[in-house]
């Protein structure tokens, strides 16, 4: 078997300087939340360890995850991303097509059996034998099962493959399922987000290469380092939240001054992601910084929690009313019923007393 080139060799070949390479390593160390003493370890790993091939499978999804990965404006990051992932198979950007492409993927998988990483974008339709998504003449289920056999780990990139996104939204006509429900015998990492942040994808892969293991995961199989905290808790507008200064409408004074978006439905308080720390497009901005409430795109079933500009707790229950409406209705109902009941009881007792009084009067008269 021929020796696979390392990550460093790959980026050097594409014209990236040593300085830029070290900068990338430092950035990634920071993103991963590692100590600075780990920095040399990361450098050494990326210099010496063979670059694991990554096969990027696209199933039922919108390709926004790919866009997120390849569309970073900073030349270093985009080169590095494409460099680090030896994307042997990625439908969106590969040159080969048709039978040629399919040959590449199966041959490559056979050659690197047990070593490659499988990145899956999109959920897998399962209804009616999985006919709603076919790749290269196979249904997505068969494809995934076959491809996952020799995988070292599976990275579910994006909300579709992590928890289910647009594709699994109610009523879910294709019976789409996220990856971790279909593949149970391989380590699966969920990187939810619609799309996930490019640095998060790359950081996870670097962790895999450096330490030969998955990063610490939480109970939803997300890397703790990126999904460990709520957007709310690291939000730069948190001071306005604590002070009680809220945007009431999208065009009011508070919105112009950059106050907290909690009242226009920001889901930062229930959303776990690295947006407010890592930010997007090389740390330029993230939704809340742009004055838009968080939609909670990295949370399970976020499309079903419509409408998106309301807190989920305020979202109408099937059809008619919100939790608050139902609650108020219940409280008012109880108040009315109790009131009516008490009035009726009082009236009844009063009339009884009057009757008794009459009876007594009669007795007296007699």
């Amino acid at each position: 078997m021929q020796r696979q080139e390392t990550f460093y060799e790959a980026v050097k070949r594409s014209g990236i300087s040593r300085r830029d390479f070290l900068r990338f390593c430092l950035l990634t160390t920071a993103y991963l939340g590692l100590e600075s003493t780990m920095f040399p370890k990361i450098v050494r790993a990326l210099e010496s360890k063979p670059r694991p091939p990554i096969y990027w499978l696209n199933f039922a999804a919108c390709t926004c995850c790919t866009e997120s990965l390849i569309r970073s404006s900073h030349p270093l990051i985009s080169d590095v991303i494409l460099g680090i992932i030896s994307l042997d198979y990625m439908e969106t950007i590969q040159v080969a097509a048709g039978h040629q492409a399919e040959e590449i993927v199966w041959e490559g998988m056979k050659k690197n059996f047990g070593n490659y990483i499988l990145a899956v974008e999109g959920s897998v339709p399962t209804k009616d034998g999985g006919v709603y998504c076919t790749v290269g003449g196979m249904t997505a289920i068969e494809y995934l099962k076959k491809a996952s056999q020799g995988a070292k780990a599976i990275i579910s990139v994006g909300s579709c493959s992590s928890f289910g996104c647009v594709t699994t939204a109610h009523p879910n006509p294709t019976g789409a399922k996220p990856i971790y429900k279909l593949i149970t015998d391989k380590p699966v990492v969920n990187l939810p987000g619609c799309p996930p942040i490019a640095e998060v994808i790359v950081g996870t892969i670097v962790h895999l290469i450096t330490f030969d293991s998955l990063p610490a995961l939480d109970n939803l199989k997300r890397p703790k380092v990126f999904y460990g905290q709520r957007i709310h808790d690291k939000c730069y507008r948190r001071a306005f939240f604590d002070a009680g200064m809220f945007v009431e409408k999208f065009d009011d004074e508070g919105a112009r001054k950059g106050w907290c978006l909690y009242k226009v439905g920001c889901r930062g308080p229930v959303t776990y992601n690295a947006c407010s720390v890592v930010k997007w497009n090389e740390g330029v901005s993230f939704p809340i910084q742009s004055g838009h409430p968080c939609l909670g795109c990295s949370e399970p079933d976020y499309w079903d929690n419509r409408p998106l500009y309301q807190h989920v707790a305020d979202v109408p229950l099937p059809g008619f009313a919100t939790a608050d409406d139902i609650g108020k209705g219940f409280a008012i109902g109880v108040a009315v019923a109790t009131g009516a009941h008490l009035v009726a009881s009082i009236v009844k007792k009063a009339s009884q007393k009057a009757k008794e009084a009459k009876v007594e009067e009669k007795k007296k008269e007699e």
């Binding site: 709520r230 808790d233 002070a243 079933d301 707790a313 139902i326 609650g327 109902g333 019923a337 009844k348």
Partner: protein
């Protein structure tokens, strides 16, 4: 124990029974204050209705104060509830007054009879044997206690997520996947709050009614511990059977 004290009021003679010991009374009034604070701060946290008149966030800390008050009250409420649960078994209430025998048919018959009694305004003149809670009230309070427990669990689970892996998160983290996500947990937390508000409306108006119009000393019993019954009252064991005849 001041049971069976005869107490004379202006027009008639009544018997007063010492039902609620100080622990029950104190814990009740702690609950009144704490639940009031919890509902008020909770409503503010869910829909902040007041905005401080400042331009910079360092001038105010309304939401932070509300949240802190909410958490503090929640902790007091929980500890109070836990102690009260212990008191069911240790205090005199359980042994003497508190009968929660859901496995017995009589329990349900009595509850059903009492419910009909309330709804149809029959207000039968004969009294149940129970001085503390009748079985319907018992059932209500047990459901209330369970609701409050769920409220506590969901609340602490959400509070725990402020510091993932911390004390509260380790203890209550399992609640969130149980209810299917933090958003659902929040919704359940809200629904139960409205349920408790509904209970409070009924509870307060009814004790006032029973105090003023039926002269059972319901309201004052939570202050003095004494409940009132007519002089020479005869408790009846199975009133639903008597009603049939």
């Amino acid at each position: 124990m001041q049971a069976n004290q005869i107490y004379r009021v202006e027009s008639e003679c009544v018997t007063r029974y010492y039902v609620w010991d100080p622990v029950v009374r104190i814990s009740h009034w702690i609950n009144v204050i704490v639940v009031g604070v919890l509902i008020f701060t909770g409503l503010y946290i869910s829909t902040p209705f007041y905005r401080p008149n400042v331009d910079e966030p360092f001038g105010a800390s309304i939401m932070a104060t509300m949240k802190n008050l909410h958490f503090l009250s929640a902790i007091i409420f929980t500890l109070n509830g836990l102690f009260r649960a212990y008191w069911w078994f240790a205090g005199n209430t359980y042994r003497q007054w508190f009968r929660f025998h859901i496995w017995r048919a009589d329990f349900w018959k009595e509850a059903w009879w009492k419910l009909k009694d309330y709804i149809t305004l029959r207000y039968t003149d004969y009294e149940l044997h129970t001085l503390g809670h009748n079985t319907l009230a018992t059932l209500t309070y047990v459901i209330l206690f369970l609701a409050a427990s769920v409220q506590g669990l969901t609340g602490f689970a959400m509070a725990g997520r402020i510091n993932p892996g911390g004390f509260f998160d380790t203890l209550f983290g399992w609640v969130i996947p149980l209810f299917g996500g933090e958003a659902n947990v929040r919704m359940i937390h809200k629904m139960i709050m409205w349920g408790i508000i509904g209970f409070m409306i009924h509870h307060i108006s009814f004790v006032i009614y029973l105090e003023v119009f039926r002269e059972k000393g319901m309201l004052s019993s939570m202050i003095t511990g004494l409940k009132t019954r007519p002089l020479g009252w005869e408790p009846i064991e199975k009133p639903w059977e008597k009603g049939k005849k």
